[in-house]
């Protein structure tokens, strides 16, 4: 992996608490959180604006759900690297997201080490 530059991450989650958690985990592990979005529309706009190396995308959000946002971002940038955030019991949606081009997924509640492993893997 290229460690010479901090990887730029956009964090998308409707819950401010979850965004904070992810941000903390990432900061401690040498990622740069370049932006946060609380809903799908915002996520798409921020993605266009920031062109991050990676997006963590909550799968259930009010309004546009994660799978739809994934599609829309990948329509704009087919090389977008997106990792879904999901809770237990959302397997079908996660499978759909992966078939829709998501690189990987992390499950809530977050295990910091697994989150970091997953994101590193997704950036390879």
């Amino acid at each position: 992996m290229d460690y010479s530059r901090k990887k730029r991450v956009l964090v998308v989650d409707d819950a401010a608490f979850m965004r904070m958690m992810i941000r903390d985990i990432l900061k401690k592990n040498n990622f740069e959180v370049v932006g946060e979005a609380a809903n799908g529309q915002e996520a798409i706009a921020k993605y266009e604006e920031l062109r991050p190396d990676l997006v963590t995308l909550d799968i259930t959000m009010p309004g546009l759900d994660g799978v739809t946002v994934l599609r829309k971002i990948r329509e704009r940038d087919p090389s977008a690297r997106i990792v879904m955030c999901s809770a237990m019991g959302q397997q079908a949606m996660v499978v759909e997201a992966i078939q829709g081009g998501a690189k990987d997924f992390i499950n809530k509640p977050f295990n910091p080490q697994k989150v970091v492993d997953t994101l590193r893997r997704a950036l390879q």
Binding site: S86, M88, I98, D117, R121
Partner: protein
């Protein structure tokens, strides 16, 4: 999320890819060095392979794999594309298509026809490719077991599978993705793949927190697909070199390096690439929507009539009118599909037919983007196939005869479609031997179809559409054009269409089909005639006129009317409709209708209104309704028949009137 959900999409997309493959194979046949075509075929087959492997249809992916391997050598310049190879690839395309048909019919793949697969294997052996194993990729079995504590195992296994897949070329995965999804869990997976990146795979799996155990075992050299039945064995025993997934990349490089080919390549990517964003709709739902709109139109008409006395409602009714019209238009638009969907299969069909007859025939297609209502599209394919086959079989002469006639060796069939007004014209023209009108005439006169003194060339030629015209042995002498043409004619007429033929002996033959754009809703004129009501489609109507019985003249047996100095043959519609003891009213309405290329005045008692007519077909007894395009239900619930002007007037031999008309015209015209 189970496999059944994907199956229709899989079948459809695979068919599209087969179509793409066929189109480009035909191109290759003309230009064996067309790199774009090779690449397009390669991409199509590669996509088929990937999709079918994902769906767990090994038989299909193996067939695709075989084709892909061969093409790869072609791209590397190790093998050539000749007629035999193209034939073999067509066979593989057919085999895949049959597998798909089997899938749609039974949900299962069928036994692979091993002879088809054998052909390419033999070329490969003949060319000595089997010894040329200079590439390192080999066949590996990769087994993965997930950590029991791992959550969302199916999704996890899927990401692992996807990642591993990027390191090589997956031949088989157990369980398949669909099986995992069905089972809701996935502890183990075995992936059989061709790869030369085992280190990367090892690194990926070893560092993955959710992987409890894994193994990577070499199973043998990278396989080619043989035609044995068992997939596992096959993979193991086959011995050949194949380059995995990166094969796609050179394609892209070629495109980038040669921008001038880019546009072509993109265009060749039809039909999938060209479509605007779309969803697939069950045609039954579409039909139902149309039915509902039809009901709405009937209801609207009824409301409109009842509201005509209530001025306060006029604005609302007007709005309803506009909305219904828009809705109807939109639904009709939704039902329009391009003829392309039918035309696409013709190049292959023409090629095969010509080949089987040892003839050289080129098909030139134009206007494939012309759109028609789905119901018409569905039913136009068979008549067209028939006309094309006839053109190849009986129209285009054998090479030696063409040479004698001073024609190029390759016969040309032009298939052309275009829209004119609210009709679509499809023409099938060949530059073959043409039809001997004299022979047709003799034959037709003998069968009592026409009078012995018939002179009209068109009338004579069109006798070939008559039922039973072709059933005698003489037909072969008439270049056999009669075979089944009565069936062609009746199928086209059932669609509200017309077909006619023109031909010049020695030069070629032209069949012209004219079809309505849509079937279901038409503009119609409601007319009263004695006690009956009828609808005359507005598309037939040129103008209407009030006339008086004393203005009607007789020429021989034919009534005529002088319309602006021209002779117009006229008929009482009531008489045509078998009304006995008909007494015309003192003031008549005349509908001037188009009848082929002629005009005829239809006299009716009254014109009631022009309105939108929803055609309701009667399912039983088509033969009884020959003179009618169908029926419609009026706002008051009554049923009215829609007149098919051409069929109704056909037995009247109105043409006789033309001659009479000329004689009248030669008299001093008086009004």
């Amino acid at each position: 999320m189970d496999q059944k959900t994907y199956l229709p999409v899989f079948i459809e997309e695979t068919k599209e890819n087969i179509q793409l493959m066929s189109e480009n194979l035909l191109l290759l046949e003309q230009h064996p060095d067309n790199l774009d075509a090779i690449n397009t075929v390669f991409r199509a087959i590669h996509t088929i392979k990937g999709m079918s492997a994902t769906m767990g249809y090994e038989k299909i992916s193996q067939i695709a794999h075989e084709a892909e391997n061969y093409l790869d050598w072609v791209r590397d310049g190790k093998a050539i594309v000749d007629e035999q190879v193209i034939n073999a690839l067509f066979e593989l395309a057919d085999e895949i298509e049959e597998q798909l048909n089997s899938l749609s019919a039974t949900g299962e793949t069928k036994e692979t026809d091993s002879r088809r697969l054998a052909v390419l294997s033999r070329f490969r052996q003949d060319n000595g490719f089997d010894e040329e194993e200079e590439l390192k990729p080999a066949l590996y079995s990769i087994r993965v077991t997930l950590d029991p504590d791992c959550m969302l195992k199916v999704a996890r296994m899927l990401t692992i599978y996807k990642q591993v897949g990027t390191y090589g070329e997956v031949q088989q995965v157990v369980p398949t993705v669909a099986e995992m999804v069905d089972a809701q869990t996935a502890d183990n997976m075995e992936c059989t793949m061709v790869t030369d990146k085992t280190n990367a795979i090892r690194h990926f799996l070893a560092t993955h927190g959710d992987v409890a155990e894994f193994s990577i075992d070499r199973k043998g050299p990278a396989p080619s697909v043989s035609h044995e039945v068992d997939a596992g064995q096959q993979v193991a025993e086959a011995a050949d070199s194949a380059e995995p997934v990166e094969q796609v990349e050179p394609v892209q490089q070629v495109q980038q390096a040669e921008p001038q080919h880019n546009a072509q390549a993109n265009a060749a990517e039809s039909p999938t690439a060209r479509h605007s964003p779309s969803i697939r709709i069950d045609t039954e739902k579409l039909d139902r929507l149309l039915n509902l709109v039809s009901e709405l139109v009937i209801n609207k008409t009824s409301i409109q009539q009842q509201a005509s006395d209530v001025p306060e409602m006029s604005e609302g009714v007007e709005h309803l009118n506009r909305l219904t019209a828009d809705l109807q238009e939109t639904v009709m638009q939704m039902r329009m599909i391009p003829l392309e969907t039918v035309f696409n299969r013709f190049p292959r069909m023409v090629r095969d037919t010509a080949r089987s007859l040892s003839k050289s025939v080129a098909l030139e297609v134009s206007g494939a983007a012309t759109e028609l209502d789905r119901t018409i599209i569905d039913d136009i394919a068979d008549p067209l196939v028939h006309l094309l086959r006839n053109a190849i079989d009986h129209g285009i002469e054998p090479a030696d005869r063409r040479e004698q006639a001073g024609k190029p060796e390759t016969g040309v069939i032009k298939l052309q479609a275009y829209q004119t007004g609210n009709r679509v014209i499809i023409e099938v023209a060949d530059d073959g031997a043409g039809i001997d009108a004299e022979l047709v005439k003799r034959h037709a006169v003998a069968r009592g179809l026409i009078a012995a003194d018939e002179q009209d060339r068109r009338t004579i030629l069109n006798c070939i559409f008559s039922t039973g015209f072709s059933t005698t042995g003489q037909v072969t002498d008439l270049s056999g054009r009669g075979v089944g043409l009565d069936v062609v004619k009746s199928s086209i007429e059932n669609l509200g269409g017309e077909v006619e033929v023109n031909s010049t002996l020695g030069k070629g033959t032209l069949f012209r089909i004219s079809l309505p754009l849509t079937l279901a809703i038409i503009q119609g004129m409601l007319v009263q005639c004695s006690e009956d009501l009828f609808v005359i489609p507005v598309s037939y109507i040129l103008e209407t006129e009030i006339i008086y019985p004393e203005e009607i003249k007789m020429v021989g047996q034919q009534r005529i009317y002088m319309l602006r100095g021209k002779v117009l043959p006229i008929v009482y519609l009531a008489e045509l409709m078998g009304v006995e003891d008909y007494t015309p009213p003192e003031e008549l309405s005349m509908v001037v209708a188009r009848h082929g290329e002629r005009q005829v005045g239809l006299l009716v008692d009254d014109l009631i209104s022009q309105q939108e007519i929803v055609i309701k077909n009667v399912a039983w007894g088509q033969e009884l309704f020959r003179d009618f395009l169908g029926t419609t239900i009026l706002g008051d619930g009554s049923v009215v028949l829609i007149i098919d002007v051409n069929n109704l007037l056909a037995p009247l031999k109105i043409k006789e009137v033309d001659k009479l008309g000329q004689s009248v015209r030669s008299l001093p015209a008086r009004q």
